[in-house]
Amino acid sequence: AQSVTQPDIHITVSEGASLELRCNYSYGATPYLFWYVQSPGQGLQLLLKYFSGDTLVQGIKGFEAEFKRSQSSFNLRKPSVHWSDAAEYFCAMDTGRRALTFGSGTRLQVQP
């Protein structure tokens, strides 16, 4: 079955610390992969996407993600977290259905 797993429901980091949010997918081939961020009461905003080529992709707000085929992973990273990064983060994949399958989300809290 096609699915996206985000193993961490909730992560708390200190402001200025590095961040890594995990994402694993289950699919027989390489899907298109996305990370979205949702602030409270808002819709989802695209952070970055992976289609092919360079496995390290850069996104907005200083985020990057690395695709690892061998691990079926697409982890999101940021070297130094800001308080404004506190939000819900969703990993998603498109297997060609022209519709996204989302993970369950990871809530990020940032401590001052």
Binding site: G43, L44, S104
Partner: protein
């Protein structure tokens, strides 16, 4: 300037009522979607339309009926509302290609009492 706008933002209604949520996008996209986000924040696709044609209907009860009068609009009508319909409903649009990212509206929080 809002790219994908949906109304209303909040909707509180009683069981058994019929309600509609409207969505409009000004991005010139060909494909529009409705997603449901439950109380645990899980997002699941309900429908997608491409140029007013239904593409995906993800085992949604037929009480839910999407209507697309043109490719810039995708409205969601819900009949005989049930408690379990309480959720946040997101409209989205994309260019309709396999790797096109979705642009989301800000959501409509539906509460059925």
């Amino acid at each position: 300037d809002t790219a994908v706008s949906q109304t209303p933002k909040y909707l509180v209604t009683q069981m058994g009522n019929d309600k509609s949520i409207k969505c409009e996008q000004n991005l010139g996209h060909d494909t529009m979607y409705w997603y449901k986000q439950d109380s645990k924040k899980f997002l699941k696709i309900m429908f997608s339309y491409n140029n007013k044609e239904l593409i995906i209907n993800e085992t949604v009860p037929n009480r839910f009926s999407p209507k697309s009068p043109d490719k810039a609009h995708l409205n969601l009508h819900i009949n005989s509302l049930e408690l379990g319909d309480s959720a946040v409903y997101f409209c989205a649009s994309s260019q309709g290609q396999d790797n096109s990212p979705l642009h989301f509206g800000n959501g409509t929080r539906l509460t059925v009492t």
